[in-house]
Symmetry: none
Amino acid sequence: MNYYKEAFERATDERKKQILESGIEEFSSKGYEKANINIIAKKAGISIGLMYKYFATKEDLFITCLQRGTQILDEALYAIMESDDRLLVKAEKLIRIIVTHSKANANYIKMYNEIAAEKNADRVKSMVAEIEKKRSEILITAITQALSKGDVRPDLDPRLFAFFLDNLLNALLFSYTCDYYKERFKIYTGVDVGEMSDEVVISQLLKFIESAFTFEK
Amino acid sequence: MNYYKEAFERATDERKKQILESGIEEFSSKGYEKANINIIAKKAGISIGLMYKYFATKEDLFITCLQRGTQILDEALYAIMESDDRLLVKAEKLIRIIVTHSKANANYIKMYNEIAAEKNADRVKSMVAEIEKKRSEILITAITQALSKGDVRPDLDPRLFAFFLDNLLNALLFSYTCDYYKERFKIYTGVDVGEMSDEVVISQLLKFIESAFTFEK
Amino acid sequence: MNYYKEAFERATDERKKQILESGIEEFSSKGYEKANINIIAKKAGISIGLMYKYFATKEDLFITCLQRGTQILDEALYAIMESDDRLLVKAEKLIRIIVTHSKANANYIKMYNEIAAEKNADRVKSMVAEIEKKRSEILITAITQALSKGDVRPDLDPRLFAFFLDNLLNALLFSYTCDYYKERFKIYTGVDVGEMSDEVVISQLLKFIESAFTFEK
Amino acid sequence: MNYYKEAFERATDERKKQILESGIEEFSSKGYEKANINIIAKKAGISIGLMYKYFATKEDLFITCLQRGTQILDEALYAIMESDDRLLVKAEKLIRIIVTHSKANANYIKMYNEIAAEKNADRVKSMVAEIEKKRSEILITAITQALSKGDVRPDLDPRLFAFFLDNLLNALLFSYTCDYYKERFKIYTGVDVGEMSDEVVISQLLKFIESAFTFEK
DNA sequence: GATGAATGAGGTTTCATTCAT
DNA sequence: GATGAATGAAACCTCATTCAT
């Protein structure tokens, strides 16, 4: 579903990009409430009047910015999940992508983190679907396939396990990008997330996950 | 550390409770930015001037509300962790507390979720310590003890595993209380979090975790 | 240096005038702290929002009002000082201008008096430069020239004498406009400043000054 | 005239001193409007309730603080003026006292400077009398005596000359104590008032004044 | 005499949105 | 399509003063 007006479709790609990137920059650095749509327009090089020809409200602009971010990650995930790898190999690739992506697209992750705190129930529904739908399908499918192949313990619920797995991945995303989670990482590990070796984090998380999916002790 | 003024200490318990509950109610339902101190004061039955005799800023009031919530959960966790149970028994108790607590103290969890999205780096530091310090100590200690007893796989990093574990517990907390996470739960599992049997969630999460902590497959 | 935003430059001259005059009126009658921006905006016939499009803060508006007043006096002084008159002739012209100006621009003088009591050290620095720079240059130059021509006693320090001279002129400015100084004038002379002949004041002050600048007794 | 209530008279000297010094400190550092009477009470070690038993309003407290400051300077001036010295000798002593006093009683001078910017006409009248009455009498008397002795030029108006003289002395007082005047001094002389030799200032000002009072060139 | 809790009006500043051009 | 001037409600915070104890 689209949250922009027709006029936005007719804008040049360059302009679309300018607007969304300015928006992502502003929303991710200040949060939704403190973000200023007038500033976004100025940074994007368009007038505020035109901004309202493109988006009906601040909220619509926000969601559209968010969608742009979602696509990037989803595309990277798709590529992995379509492979024939065993689940744990997929998992490792997944984790590596998360780490890479969170460093390259910190601003998008911050926006995502922002809406996770959204209070308006109506707004939430449409946004959740926007963001989680594809990722959940990818994960559930991967686990379900592994289940039918007998690659994982047979008594697991694929949907719940996908959910738990995504919880871990999400937390990792945030830990590399969002202030609060960064500090929290430091409290737990004793070091800055930037200074800890990625390989240690990856290997430990993989250990944590792999046991979860395999048979008996 | 305290974020209230001396005058607040001198207030009656009844009044303290009124103020903090009004605050938690307002902050958790609207989020920090949209919450209105004047409304909190009115709900608590005091004047706005007195509110500022008790708390220097909106932020201080917020943190104090948050602390009230933290205590409740921390106390419940302490009780468990001081027991002599094996780690996985502790884990089950932990999960059960999380489920119970998130239902009984939904508003506090929402506030906690709120600050996880905080953008102001300075504010974040003090709040992280406030919230995570005790919980992290509890978890790290428990895992370290299990490690020395040989109850868990010897190649795990206790701090990172504590971190991963807390990520799962946090996600569970939010899934029972915060709009966004509730919707997300539904997308993954197909059902409302309120309608799914707690026992299924608990047993599945326990499976997910227990494998992670135990020896070989 | 400018203390207004670009938008203010683009406003019509009529509007600029409206705003600055409303501001000068309000600031000079109530003082900086008690002056109310909302009232200034209303008197100027614009919304408060627009006011803040023109000036970032109350303080910036104040300084801009002040500058408007400074210019008027500075221009009048320039004209005199560029002449070839002897110092004492210049002095007489100066005094006459001060008397005329303080009656015609009483409100500006009141604002100037206002900031002379400013307590915020940072604010003070920028404002002093704003107001005193040109006038000090004019006076110091005039005295230095007279010194090199041998028109005044050779053992005077031109900068300090310029300073003393300006002190007298300032006090005169205030005595014609500011409540406190008006009353003080009355206490010293026994009559209202408005009722005393300008010529008496002028001739007496000239006597006071002229001796100061000339050779021996 | 007194601006305090009867209860204040009955207070111990120690307490009176505490209150007035706290007041002078607060008023002189923040200015009348921004000064906080609750803070003054706290600094003085009394309750705000008692403060209002002593003074009916913030304004009354201010005036009473001011009076305390006035006394100190007036007493010093009295001593000089009662001597039999020639006017110019008195003038030098006067200037020296001003310099000394402004360094020792900076806070009082700041308060005095504060009310010179007062906008409320009614308030002003009573305060002017409070402050200027004695000083003006001292100066006018001294000049009148000198006039009758033939020590000064016969065509000067003693009241206006006393007024001009006081203007110079006032400006000097402020230049040693008040931010705005300090900066202004620097603009004129090129150096900080604290770094310039007192003797230079004194000798130059004396030159400026002495000529003014003596016969022909 | 002494306390200090309590009040609440009032002022600066922000910003999403509109609309005439 | 494009502009950007203009609006004004709303929110945080301050502080002189009162009054019950």
